[in-house]
């Protein structure tokens, strides 16, 4: 398995990021995966250049009285890799983006 091989979990996370769930905890909520899975996966995706990360604007964070959050975006190569992964994992292609960008209300 090369460094750039996408496992099902990684592909799922990549797709979720593409669908607009950009923060680590939002991804956990929408996929139901544990933090110990999602974060290392994000680090790997970032190492492979499939996602990039940015800090949210300081003004937004200040308004919310918390430190700025880090969010992730799918890069161009990430989109290509995701398209390939969708060929392999047919189930992925059938997962539709949710209508809203907001995470569903969920506990924890």
């Amino acid at each position: 398995m090369g460094r750039n091989y996408l496992s099902y979990t990684m592909a799922l996370i990549l797709q979720v990021v593409e669908h607009g769930y950009r923060y680590g905890f939002d991804i956990m909520t929408v996929t139901g995966l544990a933090s110990g899975t999602v974060y290392p996966a994000l680090r790997r995706l970032e190492d492979s250049g499939f996602v990039g990360s940015k800090w949210e604007k300081a003004s937004v964070a200040q308004a919310a009285q918390r430190p700025p959050r880090k969010y992730y975006e799918v890069t161009k190569t990430g989109r290509t890799a995701l398209a390939e992964a969708r060929q392999r994992f047919r189930l992925l292609a059938q997962i539709e983006p949710l209508a809203t960008n907001k995470p569903a209300q969920q506990k924890g």
Binding site: A34, S35, G36, V38, Y39, R43, P67, K107
Partner: protein, 904 residues
Amino acid sequence: MPGANAKSPWLWLITLIGVIVPRRLRADWRQEWEAELLHREMLLAQWHQLNWRTKLSLLSHSAGAMIDALWLQPRRWEDAMIQDLRFGVRMLLKHRGFTTIAILSLALGIGANTAIFQLLDAVRLRMLPVRAPQELVEVRMADMEGARGGIWREPSVTFPIWEQIRDRQQAFSGVFAWGTDTANLAPGGEVRRARMLYVSGDFFNTLGVNASRGRVFTNTDDQRGCAAPGIVLSHDFWQREYGGDANIIGRQLTLADHSFEVVGVTPANFFGMEVGRSFDLSLPICAAALVRGNNRMYSGIMWWLTVNGRLKPGWTIEQAAAHTQTISPDLFATALPPDYPQPSVQTYLGSKLIAVAAGTGISQLRENYEQSLWLLLAIAALVLLIACANLANLLMARASAREREIAVRQALGASRGRLIRQLLVESLLLASVGALLGAVLAQALSRLLVAFLSTAADPVFLDLAPDWRVLGFITGLAVATCLLFGLTPAIRITRRQPGATIIASGRGMSATRERFTLRRALTVVQVALSLVLVAGALLFSRSLAKILTIDLGFRDEGVVTATAQFQRLNLPPERVPVFKDELLERLRAIPGVESAALTNIIPLRDWGGGSAWIDGAVREPKPTRLSRVGSGYFQTLEVPLLAGRDFDGRDRVGAPDVAIVNQTFARRFLNGANPVGQRLWIEAAPGSPDTLYEIVGLVGDTKYADLREEFRPIVYYAAAQDDGAGAGGMFLIRSRLPQGEIVAAVKRTLNEINPAITVSFEGLKPLIDATVLRERLMATLSGFFGLLALLLACIGVYGMLSYGVASRTTEIGIRMALGARRRDVFWMILREALWLVAIGVVVGLPLIFAVTRLAATLLFELSPTDPISLVSAALLLLGVAILAGYLPSRRATRVDPMVALRCE
């Protein structure tokens, strides 16, 4: 805002886990996790859902940060390692001289070790390249006491015994026999030998070896009396003789005047069952009768086969061994040949078969050289150890020069661990480059070693491709050497107080005692180990010298052996002796030939023995060596005829049987009385009853089968009285001509007589030299390693002293200013060198006694504590110390007190 003021437990957890995140990433990492947790906490508060369950969930999420943090661990290394590596490379490039010496000595040490290990791996450790080799077992004779007749190899079995094993055994899922031989590929003239592998039908199938082309043999090929079996080529032979011709299958190959159809080619990695040898052609066992032109291979007195089996599932070797023991009595009773010599029948019937693991094949090479190779590996390891001590010393000297650098870095906050790591990375770099070069060197060296062990008659074939064991060995060596020479200096120089070092970084009056003690100790260790190696080298060289100057009892220079075959002439049996005489006359007539004679035994190559007693005395057969030789034999080998006469025209078939004996025979059998006129009995052997011989001559003692053994009794009988002589003969030819010319002349002569005669040649001297190959190997390699050790010791002592002189310049200056004479200063330094060596010798001597005992069995007529060798070794090292100490001592006398003091 909840959680923003008082820190919640999950945020505490993040702070805590953050400690193990690499420092460079830590701030960002904490912020990311804290922001997420806080955000989620606030959302939950907004939704009024911040209850104990959701809080627990937040806690478990933050615990997941641990996995994240662990996942980031390698980055800590990546960063620091790359930094260390870059710095290490820079430092090594800056000190080119040191780096070159270090890498070269490591490469040499690691290369030598690896080369020897590679050979050991190929000879001893490696499994045969067949299916599940660990299941293979050899069924062999527990001993060969009861074996009579032609014994081709030990241990081995005869064809009838093999048949019995095949039919009676129940321990193996498959069982097969094989034997080796050579056969002639040439139609006439000089013989071209092919190495033959005769196999039973199940051989390839049981081993799980398939043909790379065509097919291999099956049971249908090996039927007794087979008339036209196919032949299987080895991959090498196919490449060499046919250039890897793709259409080889179905072609005809002529071997010993018979035509065989090529049916297959074996895979490239398959060399047969014998490690160290390979084969050219393989035939079913039944074809041996065709190739050799007689049915003797089937007989119960030809010991030439090895039997292997593959254990049935669930069977252990112990069970198989017990099983073969159980079937032995019946088996040998059935296999007993009808004409077996009566005195040996009981021993034969009492023989036992045992089963031993055969996954690594069998190997003459292994038996001859395994012990030597392990010893050489130990010697090479010692050399590497000395090289490491040397490097550690050099590193410490260099470390003193880097004291300020290290102290400044320490003062600036570098931790000791980090500094040690940095220094170790430098050592690891040296060791890795050394190991890499060493690995390349080892490939050449191990091939050189194989070439050393090969002789014209017996080429050594070994698969030397490095396997995981060799790679592991090199890696292990690299790491071990790195730690050996790098760790101590690294720990030492980081131990000092940085402040003190920076303040005292000017030149001190005299070097600190503590630092010198360790370096002195290292030098003493070097000297002690060198002493062991030098003593070993001297022991082996002296042993070789002894064996080379041994009195053979005959002169081997200028003698060529020629083995001629003339079966193709189809002479009637009664013509054969006459024809041999004619050949001999023609050979003797060649200009330059001084004498020539027939023999059935080439001294120190062949072997024949029996039991004898003197006629008229009690029948108490004692072992004696036997040779059948023609007239002129003693003259050709220049063996003195002490009494009586040589064989001559009177000794014919039908005339009374005569014999000539040597001095040892006369001493052992006749208490030294003149044997001429006495008569002796030779005990019955397969195919011949007890026979009476009249002794007609007494000759000087000669070495018979082995240079190392003392003179044995020998009975020579007359070649001309051999009524069963075959259509061939071995001739010893003494001439004044160089070997090339005499060989050409003999070939020409035989060709004139009849072109169908085939002949092969060997010089007698090279042949005898080949029997001391092991001694030569030990002497050459231990000599090489001994020299290397001396050189390293020399460098070590020199480095130690010159560094001492450099750091004691002020002290020397003061001494000279106070009136010390140059001679005093000279002695002061040189004395240290002599002391170091003297202590080294004292430490090394007990080591020698411990180590050289291992070599005792490899030494010829030499005690492992041979005083001459030990004293010479100690003197050599003292000489080296004086040599190494001279330059630094001279340098010390040139110190100008004024300059030295002004520098303060």
